[in-house]
């Protein structure tokens, strides 16, 4: 270690630069996926490359807030996982760095288009379709029909049985709002949101809370990403997953390199590695039911079958921009959330 240091410390300035930074190869890894997946990614990358990984797991919103707060003196190197919006936001604010990975030709087109809409400052690593899940026991106990479409949720018999997150606080719910705009057009989309509002029993703060409540029997129907609903079902809760018949929007879980990363080379190594089929297959070990972005990676057998789901052509560039987001959220605030329930 000492000799290594003397070597690179040829000039005093280089030494100063190395002061707070790494001596051995290491990587500070911000992870916004589920805990066990993060753990597995960190360990596997460490095993594959010998680079020391320091992993911190936080939700994507928390990580974004942290990267923003740290921007004067970045501490993280790479940010992996979590829904795409905060990654796009970070790119828009210049918090993340542009990088063209040699692995790009192995990826699905949606992963590349995510990158292109953000000036190559982020890239898609998995995708998951929006839908909803319901607690089959509660549905039966209340003698309710099984819903199959978005519009089914507007029926009066579901009053007080539907839960979704608040789009002001949750990326999932914002995706729902944006999906309705694209599926039904803005006017009809807002009519849908207003109709839904009368049936909603609670707007939760966190995106996956509605389906967790459904799993525990505290709520009947939860509007969430389908892989979150599958996860409840696989964990043993009586949850059924629905891919709405009208078609649906989706999220692209993303990865970005933090601008000014102290271990830029290691961050790029991780970036390339995380896009490989081998790294994306790790998802199979940890009950992650998203669709991987590498064409060669496998998808879990329990995952929602994407070929059976009608996906809309989601405009990430438009609906991910902060102006459009602010406009839609304000409109939802002013026109939907104030209505009586």
């Amino acid at each position: 270690m000492t000799s290594l240091k003397t070597l690179c410390g040829a000039s005093a300035l280089a030494l100063v630069a190395a002061a707070g930074a790494a001596q051995a190869d290491k990587l500070t890894f911000y992870c916004s996926a589920q805990e066990d997946w993060c753990q597995l990614m960190a360990n596997s990358f460490q095993d594959a490359t010998g680079i020391d990984v320091a992993m911190t797991r936080k939700s994507s919103g928390e990580t974004f807030a942290q990267i923003k707060a740290e921007s004067a003196n970045p501490k993280g190197d790479v940010w992996w996982g979590g829904t795409g919006d905060p990654h796009l936001q970070a790119a828009e604010e210049g918090l993340t760095a542009e990088y063209l990975s040699p692995m790009r030709d192995q990826l699905h087109p949606w992963a590349i288009s995510q990158a292109e809409s953000a000036g190559n400052k982020t890239i898609g690593i998995y995708s998951g379709a929006l839908g909803y899940g319901y607690n089959a026991d509660l549905l039966a106990a209340n003698n309710l029909p099984e819903p199959a479409c978005w519009k089914d949720l507007l029926k009066p018999e579901y009053k007080g049985h539907v839960q979704m997150a608040n789009p002001n606080s949750s990326g999932t719910a914002y995706t729902t709002l944006a999906t309705m705009m694209q599926l039904f057009g803005e006017d009809e989309g807002f009519d849908f949101m207003k109709g839904l509002h009368t049936n909603v029993n609670q707007y939760t703060k966190s995106g996956s809370a509605p389906i967790k409540a459904a799993g525990r029997g505290e709520n009947t129907i939860g509007i969430v990403f389908m892989h979150d609903a599958v996860k409840q079902a696989v964990s043993g809760f009586p949850v059924k997953v629905v891919a709405p018949c009208e078609g649906t929007g989706y999220e692209i879980g993303s990865m970005s390199i933090i601008d000014g990363a102290r271990n830029m080379d290691e961050a790029k190594k991780f970036y390339d590695w995380a896009l490989s089929a081998e790294a994306q297959n790790l998802a199979l070990q940890v009950n992650a039911f998203q669709v991987p972005s590498n064409k060669g990676a496998e998808t879990s057998a329990s995952a929602p079958d994407m070929s059976q789901i009608t996906l809309i052509d989601y405009d990430f560039k438009k609906y991910g921009s902060s102006d459009e987001r602010k406009r839609l959220l304000k409109k939802w605030d002013d026109e939907v959330s104030v209505l009586p329930q």
Binding site: A12, G20, T56, F64, A65, R325
Partner: protein, 737 residues
């Protein structure tokens, strides 16, 4: 001792700080060193390597020349070392040297940062610096302390606070650390309220966010929904009142009744305070939720349609009352015990009935305790984040709104800052209301005179309902905790009720191997970190808290009110705001501590210190000043008086501060979530990750383990700190000493 120190011309304290300053400047690395206590830096080029060099060596090599002026401030005090304290020169030189050294250190720290000059105008005036500096290290820290205490000694020598060096230094020290770790970060965060989207400053941005209808709407009076601010206020007042009453009830049962199982009751009341967040909420959902056991029972037996009544104000109120009653209890028990029996006996001798004694003597003397308990309950409720998140339903409160303004889809730090200000105003209001209610009366009951009475029991008319309420509440708490324990030993809570220990095994398994134990469980890392951080933070918190309380109750100095408010500030602000403000403030030089354990310790000290302060004030306002005065008259200085007279009488307050800060460090979540790093992960953030991932069993098993660990630590603290023995006839067999 005191006589000698002031007459002779040697000043041990002065010499100590002069030497400390020199050590900081000439021996210790000036800038922060990663893993300082591994001492690898000693062999790695110290003292010449610029990473590890002390300030003097840097200057000697022609580096960082802006540090040089501080050397003058270190030299100057040597000049007065042989002078008498009464010599005007003594005070003048120390004040000037201290102020200059400290001021220079701060100014250079803020002006020159990681990218050279921090201010554009400085670059314009002085030109490009061509150099930069990182966060300060131990050398700078020791130097700064030396300058500060040289300064305070100068002030004391000029005759401030009767020339008392200890008191002046303590005031100076507390002001500096509170400024650095409370005012500075919070100010940094709150300025966000005035920043426009373009990055400029504007008051209208603030006004627009502040006068939002979502904040102040009164729709609930006419059937709609009320503003977030009113929700929070209403909830906090209710929680403050209920927890104070329940806390008083428990304190009365424990100290003034013939109830036999006091210890069990005491343990039970402390239980909620040592419970990690979310757990109480989850247990309540499992009992009273739509599919909860109690709900299902009532629906099966009485045919009552299950509803979601729990989600909203009722649920949050129940959970917060469960969680914060122990705090009121901890504050009140010291006060109730401290009320002098002589006064009560005097009233009885004057033929007052038991009820009259209680109403006109005991209760009024407990007022400082009641007021402080209410204030704490109010503030805790305002800042609580976990319970509203789990049980709030559509009942939004400020703390959750703040959290989601920062981390939610809006990323609106300005809104968070405005909401935090509203919250702060409420707290400030409660704080002044409390002061107004207490007025200028004296609540002193423990004086130097012998006081060997025994507390009378409560009047009968009071004791029956009090006991009944205490029992009901204790029973309820017990049920909630049984549920929690049960949740940790079943396969999947609420779905598959097969008994299993697998959650404990996943979290806490270990193997005996050659060369020791291998901690193979998933939770060990965060567990040890949490324990370590909490153990470091707790005593520091108690010390800072009690010294502050001592200054506030025993000393008078200019700006005392502002000082008191400042110490309460960090407690009143929700953890989320603290967390983000700490990152904003301490991620860049001069104080660069993000990603270390230090930032966690510091955040815990300043978040939990107010409880030590409150408990200390409540107890100290009962101690007669004549105790201090007689100690001082007999020749002890104020440090000795504090240590030998006041401290031993403060044991309940010390215990409260220690227990609270330890437990809080282990269970805090909202601030911690921003401050944890890969190396310093805390138990609570690990638990939250597990809850998010549906691993309820593991999360609850971890929480249950934490509860048991904390219980034993609290018991241990109780033994170490001991009880206050105010000379009273405790039992029949033991006579007053």
């Amino acid at each position: 001792m005191r006589q000698l120190a002031s007459e002779k011309t040697t000043h041990p304290v002065l010499i100590f700080w002069i030497i400390a300053g020199w050590v900081g400047f000439f021996l210790l690395p000036w800038y922060g060193v990663e893993e300082f206590f591994a001492f690898e830096w000693l062999l790695d080029g110290y003292p010449f390597d610029t990473d590890y060099a002390p300030a003097a060596f840097l200057i000697g090599q022609g580096e960082k020349l802006w540090l040089a002026p501080m050397f003058v401030a270190l030299l100057a005090p040597l000049w007065v070392i042989k002078k008498r304290k009464t010599d005007p020169l003594y005070a003048k030189v120390l004040i000037l040297a201290g102020a200059f050294g400290f001021g220079w250190l701060i100014v250079q720290g803020f002006s020159i940062g990681i990218r050279g000059w921090n201010f554009d105008w400085a670059e314009a005036v002085f030109g490009d610096l061509g150099d930069r500096q990182f966060g300060m290290g131990y050398g700078a820290l020791i130097c700064a302390s030396a300058f500060l205490f040289l300064f305070t000694q100068g002030i004391a020598a000029r005759g401030a606070i009767n020339g008392d060096v200890f008191v002046v230094s303590a005031i100076g020290g507390v002001i500096v650390i509170v400024t650095a770790f409370v005012f500075f970060p919070i100010a940094k965060m709150l300025t966000a309220a005035f920043i426009t989207e373009e990055g400029g400053y504007s008051a209208s941005v603030f006004a627009a966010k502040f006068f939002d209808d979502r904040l102040w709407g009164l729709g609930c009076l006419s059937g709609g929904r009320c503003g977030v601010a009113w929700n929070s206020l209403f909830l906090a007042v209710l929680v403050g009142l209920i927890t104070t009453v329940l806390g008083l009830i428990f304190a009365l049962v424990v100290t003034r009744s013939g109830f036999r199982y006091k210890r069990a009751l005491r343990a039970l009341t402390v239980l909620p305070i040592i419970t990690p967040p979310f757990v109480i909420g989850l247990a309540l959902i499992l009992l009273f939720g739509l599919s909860g056991s109690v709900t299902v029972f009532f629906s099966d037996v009485f045919g009552i349609q299950p509803t979601r009544w729990l989600y909203g104000l009722p649920g949050v109120l129940i959970a917060q009352t469960l969680a914060f009653t122990p705090i009121a209890f901890l504050v009140l028990i010291g006060v109730v015990e401290g009320v002098s029996p002589s006064m009560e006996e005097a009233a009885q001798t004057l033929r007052a009935s038991k009820w009259q004694v209680f109403k006109t003597v005991s209760l009024p003397l407990m007022r400082p305790g009641l007021a402080n308990a209410f204030l704490l309950g109010f503030i805790e409720s305002m800042a609580d984040f976990g319970n509203p998140l789990v049980l709030g339903g559509n009942f939004d409160v400020l703390s959750t709104e703040i959290f989601f303004a920062i981390v939610g889809a809006q990323y609106d730090q300005g809104k968070a800052a405005v909401l935090a200000m509203v919250l702060l105003c409420f707290t400030l209001g409660a704080f002044y209301a409390q002061r107004f209610w207490l007025g200028k009366k004296s609540y002193t009951t423990v004086s130097g005179k012998g006081d060997s009475g025994v507390h009378p029991h409560m009047p009968r008319a009071l004791s029956l309902p009090v006991l009944a309420l205490a029992m009901i509440w204790a029973g309820f708490t017990a049920v909630v905790y049984l549920m929690i324990f049960y949740g940790s030993v079943v396969e999947l809570w609420g779905v598959n009720n097969t008994l299993t220990f697998k959650h404990y095994i996943t979290a806490f398994s270990f193997r005996l191997e050659e060369g020791g134990i291998r901690w193979s469980g998933a939770a060990w890392d965060s567990f040890w970190t949490t324990l370590k951080i909490a153990a470091i933070a707790a005593p520091l918190t108690a010390i800072v808290g009690l010294i502050t309380a001592y200054l506030l109750t025993r000393q008078t100095f200019a700006g005392k009110n502002a000082f008191e408010f400042g110490t309460m500030l960090s407690f009143a602000i929700p953890g989320t705001v603290i967390g983000v403000s700490y990152i904003l403030a301490f991620n860049v030089p001069p104080i660069e501590i993000t990603g270390t354990g230090i930032i966690l310790v510091v955040s815990f000290i300043f978040r939990n210190m107010p409880v030590g302060v409150r408990a200390g004030i409540a107890s100290m306002s009962q101690l007669d000043k004549s105790l201090d005065e007689s100690s001082l008259t007999l020749g002890a200085n104020s440090w000795e008086t504090f240590r030998r007279i006041i401290l031993p009488l403060l044991r309940p307050a010390i215990l409260a501060a220690l227990v609270y800060s330890f437990v809080r460090a282990m269970t805090a979540i909202s601030a911690v979530i921003f401050l944890v790093s890969a190396e310093y992960d805390m138990a609570t953030s690990y638990i939250i990750g597990r809850v998010e991932n549906n691993d309820y069993g593991l999360a609850i098993a971890y929480s249950t383990t934490l509860i048991f660990v904390m219980l034993s630590v609290v018991a241990l603290m109780q033994v170490i700190v001991g009880r206050t023995e105010i000379g009273r006839r405790m039992t029949q067999s033991r006579t007053n000493v």
